[in-house]
Assembly symmetry: C2
Homo-oligomer: 210 residues x 2
DNA sequence: CACTTATCTGAGTATTTGCTCAATAATTGC
DNA sequence: GCAATTATTGAGCAAATACTCAGATAAGTG
């Protein structure tokens, strides 16, 4: 049944969990879905399997979630919140007191840390689950905030900080992604790789622009 | 029906197209599938839609392809062949006569070129279609060949050529991917980005190692 | 307890979709 | 022309799966 043909007819209301028992049910559903996503990916995520794994009936799933996508929505929400937390922590640093070295080290370390936690889930969410437009927008906004914050931090140290910040963030994100999540075939260990990544970014930021 | 539960029972043989009419049918099926993949992605690719778009009946589809995945297999095959062609062309260059500048310029230009051609299909194949193990292996092999070839080219110019080649290839691939395929939200134009990418890779390769 | 509200159940419905097969048509070889 | 081979058709089967609903059970309230 995969897709509703002509847009959802605005079905019935979902219930808000009031009692503790119900909140447990909701959490069980989310946990089960997360595990299935990490283990079998989007293709393995079906409502019957979710209910079975959560130890509840399908009816309960639809009591608290409008549809399958709504469950994933919550999972993505919680996942993005982690990235936003890292960003808030970095924003609290005193810009004047950190060196260029520190900035880049923190950048690389943050991305590595983010990707190291539950790589299977991260992979499923970023490469498997079909994201809605608003989910994509939220990810894009997080990226842009990171770039903006980094650009501010770079301003005392380098020319063209916005451009450089874009390159730095995209490179750090794309490469940690590839090394920690995507493949299984890097002959070089990830620590060595992220060390090289830091070195490369350093050289790039320090270089005089053309 | 999505998935056969207990491994394919080794069904009936697929037919080999002998007459010109049949070869047209096969091509029409592949073309239709490619278009659907590029336009609607994996989720929109179903056998009835393929048959309709190709102007043939479902029966014909299964006359020449064991199942839906077999069609995608051919598409991926042809797509990878392009990458392999680039690699062969690069391998024909005289190693002694090219400068470090040329090597990196060619690397970046090749990746840009590869990703610019039919980005929608590229995206569907690399982020949407669930790849089989052997398909992943083939991609991995192509990546490794590229790294090996680049490492050889770098040997006269830099220390630790294998490590550097790995970084270069992964960076070029991941970033062109992101800029040309993934998003739609880069405020900086792709040409500028690839120029910066080339600059960064140059600096990295030229730097004395620690 | 009696009553109301919240929660849960799971067999069943509606739909999608991969794929088959018996019948029909076109092409080729003689 | 006439078989044999190759090609095509499309209704329909079987399985998967998102989601519903009528009724059972538990919890809160007086």
């Amino acid at each position: 049944m995969q897709k509703r043909r002509h847009e959802k007819p605005a079905r019935k209301q979902v219930r808000q969990a009031r009692q503790a028992r119900a909140r447990n049910t909701v959490e069980a559903i989310i946990t089960a879905s997360t595990q299935i996503l990490a283990g079998q990916g989007w293709a393995g995520l079906n409502t019957n399997a979710i209910a079975r794994r959560a130890g509840v009936s399908v009816g309960s799933v639809y009591e608290y979630f409008r549809n399958k996508e709504a469950i994933v929505d919550v999972i993505i929400d919680r996942h993005l919140a982690q990235g936003e937390a890292y960003l808030r922590a970095a924003a609290d640093l005193d810009a004047a007191s950190v060196s260029l070295d520190d900035i880049i080290t923190l950048l690389v370390a943050s991305f590595v840390e983010l990707h190291r936690h539950d790589p299977a889930l991260h992979r499923a969410l970023s490469e498997d689950v079909p994201l809605t437009i608003s989910q994509r927008e939220r990810i894009q906004a997080l990226r842009q905030s990171t770039i903006d914050l980094l650009a501010m931090a770079l301003t005392p140290h380098a020319a063209a900080p916005k451009l450089k910040a874009t390159i730095l963030v995209d490179t750090a994100d794309a490469l940690t992604h590839r090394w920690l999540i995507d493949d299984a075939g890097t002959p070089v260990p990830p620590e060595k790789m992220s060390q090289e990544l830091g070195k490369m970014l350093q050289l790039y930021v320090r270089a005089a622009q053309v």
